[in-house]
């Protein structure tokens, strides 16, 4: 079997670079490609919202009480919400916020997790034991009190300038910080496990024997070889963060109005589910489809980055 496997894959790889192979494999994963395209379109739309807003001649935050709960019309393609605001544009802004929170929080978690995981995995011993117990602690940490404490912190006391604290987006940053503070554990564990195995690889030994220091080994030899699980985990966690944001909104700890996020739009619409189900349908569907798309993309990436496939 090994022999056959060998004979099968090695020549097939011959002329290809790692990336072309990666894209080839990803391309075979049709759902992942579809998801990537969907997310790209969504991203472009979300971040072009101000332009779309201008073209449609609507204002996402303009309350117009005479136009509440209107059905789709030429002026409002998807109709209006409970405050007479254009639903489409709010959904797009919500997407901007949800994607931003998701991506930034996932990135921040990934960075923290990678650093912790690399240190624990590469140095091992007491540092590893300490960092892993820390990770366990964070996992076991009750999220709720933490969220409430963080939501109540007086940020000026932390030395943040007034302009930051007064920023209308502060609730958004809070969410990102909170999620980053607790969300890094998965990546840390993955990276540690991967680093533990990569650490034993001969090429790491070779670099050590050549005199490379810990920093260089971690940066040049371990990190690039554990990047796949990081990318996969981060992709999946973008979806999770978007879901988590909606749950936080449900608990009243999410992003505060008038900033729209899919989470708070869905939570707000929940109570109107009987009279205006479409208000809940759109953000609910968008969350669902986006999260599922991130999951598919992550799945596709996982397949495409399968080290077995690359190593041959």
């Amino acid at each position: 079997m090994n022999a056959a496997h060998h004979a099968m894959t090695k020549p097939a790889m011959g002329a290809r670079t790692v990336w072309s192979l990666f894209f080839h494999r990803l391309g075979a994963h049709r759902l992942a490609v579809g998801s990537a395209v969907f997310l790209a379109v969504l991203g472009v739309l979300a971040f072009a919202t101000p332009a779309i807003e201008a073209v449609l001649g609507v204002d996402a935050n303009l309350v117009d009480l005479s136009r509440r709960f209107q059905g789709p019309s030429r002026a409002h393609l998807l109709g209006t919400d409970e405050l007479g605001r254009d639903l489409l544009v709010r959904l797009l802004y919500g997407g901007q916020v949800s994607l931003f929170v998701g991506i930034v929080a996932a990135l921040a978690s990934a960075v923290t997790g990678t650093v912790v995981g690399l240190l624990a995995g590469y140095y091992g011993g007491r540092l590893d034991a300490f960092l892993m117990r820390l990770t366990d602690g964070v996992i076991a940490l009750p999220l709720l009190p933490l969220l409430i404490v963080l939501a109540a912190l007086d940020l000026t006391k932390l030395g943040l300038p007034e302009s930051v604290v007064q920023d209308p987006n502060i609730s958004l940053y809070r969410i990102i910080v909170i999620i980053s503070l607790v969300g890094w554990t998965t990546v840390a564990r993955l990276v540690r496990a991967a680093a533990l195995s990569v650490r034993e690889m001969d090429y790491v030994l070779a670099a050590t024997a050549a005199g490379a220091g810990g920093l260089r080994i971690m940066a040049v030899h371990i990190l690039p070889n554990v990047i796949s699980p990081i990318i996969v985990a981060s992709t999946l966690s973008v979806g999770n963060v978007i879901l988590l944001e909606s749950v936080l909104s449900f608990l009243g700890l999410g992003i505060q109005p008038p900033i729209a996020s899919w989470g708070n739009m869905l939570t707000g619409a929940q109570e109107l589910i009987w009279s205006s189900p479409e208000l809940a349908f759109y953000p609910g569907m968008l969350i669902f489809v986006t999260v599922i798309a991130f999951n598919f993309l992550g799945d596709g990436l996982q397949d495409a980055m399968d080290p077995r496939a690359i190593e041959g």
């Binding site: 090429y203 030994l205 050590t208 024997a209 050549a210 005199g211 030899h221 690039p224 041959g312």
Partner: protein, 350 residues
């Protein structure tokens, strides 16, 4: 025990009484280690400049550990590694880095020893970067030269390891080891992962390099046929001990340790006819976590007596052959190889 050095010149590398144990188990903050594996139990030998010493033994005998302790991938529990007069075992940080510049390693698995995310040029050039040698252009040039020397096409410098065959990869690994112009190369089973038809190519390459540059080699292998072809001297290891060390010819013509004989005996010879039943050495290699008392080979040895069970024999010179040392209470006499009186059919004693 002192190591015998061939030719009487100052050794390039001298290893003295290396001891290395590994703890087993023991995870968690409060867990204690549950036992120790005695990987090395006082290993001593020396390698002269330009000399090739082969370290032979079966899995678990400690040959790889020896290599890694010398390369300071592991820190020994005790003993010293004198390389060009400096004790590597004691060094740290920058001093260690510069001290071991002249000592490089080649690993067994050419698939695992090359970072799959780096192009070949970066792999070969890395030691230069680490030691901050030359400008980028100079390094580039040097890498190309090295590639030519090991028989690779410099145009492939931007390719990644997976685009090469096993043999080519091992050439890359050799180029990486050579780029710093070392005086000693530790080659840990450099052939065993390669196809048969490729092994000879790499073996020739190593031999050419050795001859061109006058390099010393610590050549680790389990294949005695390769040893016969490549080594100047041979050290046979068993369970963390060197049981016999001798010039190549002496070892193969007149092995003194029953284990050495067992190894030579076990090598299948192509075209040598069917195996004679009952000639294989009985018994398993013992678990290094619980080594037998006395001579580690005694449970498998037909010549073992009470003293073997109790006392570990010291490595001592064979009469009239100062360079031939053996650690055995009952060393073999001349002609054991032909006589077939070997250790052969010792019943398993467990």
């Amino acid at each position: 025990m002192s190591a015998a050095v061939s030719q009487g010149t100052a050794p390039l590398l001298e290893v003295r009484d290396l001891v290395k144990h590994f703890a087993i188990g023991g995870q968690g903050l409060f867990a204690r280690s549950l036992g120790r594996v005695h990987a090395l139990n006082g290993v001593s030998f020396a390698i002269g400049p330009g000399e090739t010493l082969a370290l032979v033994g079966e899995s678990g005998c400690g040959k790889t550990t020896t290599a890694r302790v010398i390369a300071r991938l592991y820190r020994p529990d005790s003993g010293s590694v004198l390389f060009k007069g400096t004790d590597l075992a004691m060094l740290k940080g920058r001093k260690l880095k510069s001290a071991r510049r002249a000592l490089q390693m080649v690993f067994q698995d050419p698939y695992g020893s090359l970072n799959p995310r780096l192009p070949v040029s970066a792999i070969i050039g890395e030691p230069l970067v680490i030691h901050r040698l030359g400008t980028a252009t100079e390094r580039h040039h040097r890498v190309e030269t090295m590639m030519v020397q090991v028989g690779l096409n410099p145009r492939d410098a931007d390719h990644y390891p997976h685009q090469f065959s096993g043999g080519q990869r091992q050439r890359i690994a050799i180029a990486r080891a050579l780029v710093l112009e070392p005086e000693l190369i530790i080659a840990d089973e450099p052939l065993s992962a390669l196809d048969v038809s490729i092994q000879s190519q790499i073996l020739n390459l190593l031999k050419d390099i050795q001859e061109d540059r006058g390099l010393a080699f610590l050549f680790i292998t389990h294949d005695l046929a390769v040893v016969d072809y490549f080594a100047d001297r041979v050290a046979v290891m068993y369970l963390g001990h060197i049981v016999e060390i001798a010039p190549r010819a002496a070892l193969f013509s007149t092995p003194r340790h029953p284990y050495s004989l067992a190894l030579i005996d076990a090598i299948p010879v192509p075209g040598g006819g069917k195996r004679r039943l009952g000639t294989a050495t009985a018994g398993d290699v013992p678990n290094p976590a619980s080594p037998p008392s006395g001579c580690p080979f005694h449970p498998r040895c037909a010549r073992a007596t009470e003293v073997c069970r109790e006392t570990m024999p010291a490595l001592a010179g064979v009469p009239n052959q100062a360079e031939h040392q053996v650690a055995c209470h009952h060393p073999l006499e001349d002609g054991a190889l032909e006589g077939g009186a070997g250790p052969a059919t010792g019943a398993p004693r467990q």
